[in-house]
Symmetry: C2
Subunit: 167 residues, 2 copies
DNA sequence: TCTATCTAGTTCAACTTTCAAGAAAAGGTC
DNA sequence: GACCTTTTCTTGAAAGTTGAACTAGATAGA
């Protein structure tokens, strides 16, 4: 039995508070930074760009909706709207799944791939400048381990977890 | 002279790609997690909650709009909407700034403080579970340094930077 | 003073995300 | 097969965010 609602709260230490705030500040600024960079150079928010990247790396440049949502860590609803928008841009098209009549594949179009090729160098450069150029090799390694740990914590194996793409 | 647009892009190494993806996954999941937790337990998204926390720690529980935007790393426009909503809830009220007739102070109301007191233990517990309980002391320390570095990188001292609260 | 410029904050429209509801097909179980 | 449950994906409305335009007050220079 958990008694979180009645037992004395374990407050954060001063250092934990500083780390937590630094985390919030950095992630907020980074998200804002990349959203702007990509809105300017590719005409879409970072989330959408990530979807195109996923598709570009998938076999035959296509992926089932739920699978794509799982990879992007977002809800299917959100994905539906996003794909609709990208479809309007001509960068993605939908395709019925042959093996499951409920299913849809999102397919990266040639135009989508082109746009990705054009904007990739600029985006990589932005990621370098904002993140990798500022950290030592140790820090990069450490960041990787930390982020993998945190991500795994929120999507455990034995899954009754409340994960976005299952909602 | 920078020649980013014409020189060969410095692609990310395999490890850098893995770290970058882990970062995106973890931050997306964490944001989703805390937004849900607070929407459920406090009736607002995490950004809004953060504003109330800031106000609660400010002298006389009030702060100038732009100052609050700077602390939260968001645009003044976004803040205007957020405060309007929190005002409707009765958790914040606006107050004219005595020394500058253009200015507004956002003031945390007693109701706002109450709501914060009620929801704080649950939120702290959630932050612990999702972050601090999963990391070693080294990792927490390292995470703090990394995040401070990244945040500082995006808001340098000699400031012609494109910062949200100046837009 | 007069004028130009800058700063503080808000507003509107367009866009994105969330949440709840729903249609359609798939997968049991009897 | 008939029935019930689950899975897949979409939709529409409400909530939140963005970017540009705008008002009003402060500031600085001639």
């Amino acid at each position: 039995m958990t008694t979180a609602s009645t037992s004395a709260p374990r407050w954060l230490t001063d250092e934990e508070q500083r780390v937590w705030r630094a985390y919030l500040h950095a992630t907020t600024l980074l998200e804002d930074h990349f959203d702007r960079q990509l809105q300017r150079d590719a005409g879409m928010p970072h989330t959408y760009y990530g979807l195109l990247v996923q598709l570009s790396q998938a076999p035959r440049r296509r992926m089932r909706m739920t699978e794509l949502a799982r990879n992007a860590k977002i809800t299917r609803s959100r994905l539906s709207h996003a794909i609709a928008r990208l479809e309007k841009n001509g960068w993605v098209r939908r395709e019925d799944c042959p093996s499951d009549k409920r299913g849809q594949n999102a397919v990266l179009t040639d135009e989508g791939l082109d746009m990705l090729r054009r904007s990739a160098p600029g985006h990589v450069e932005a990621v370098r400048q904002a993140m990798f150029d500022r950290l030592t090799d140790e820090q990069v390694k450490s960041l990787g381990e930390i982020m993998r740990t945190l991500a795994t914590g929120l999507e455990p194996e034995g899954t009754d977890a409340d994960l976005p793409w299952l909602r």
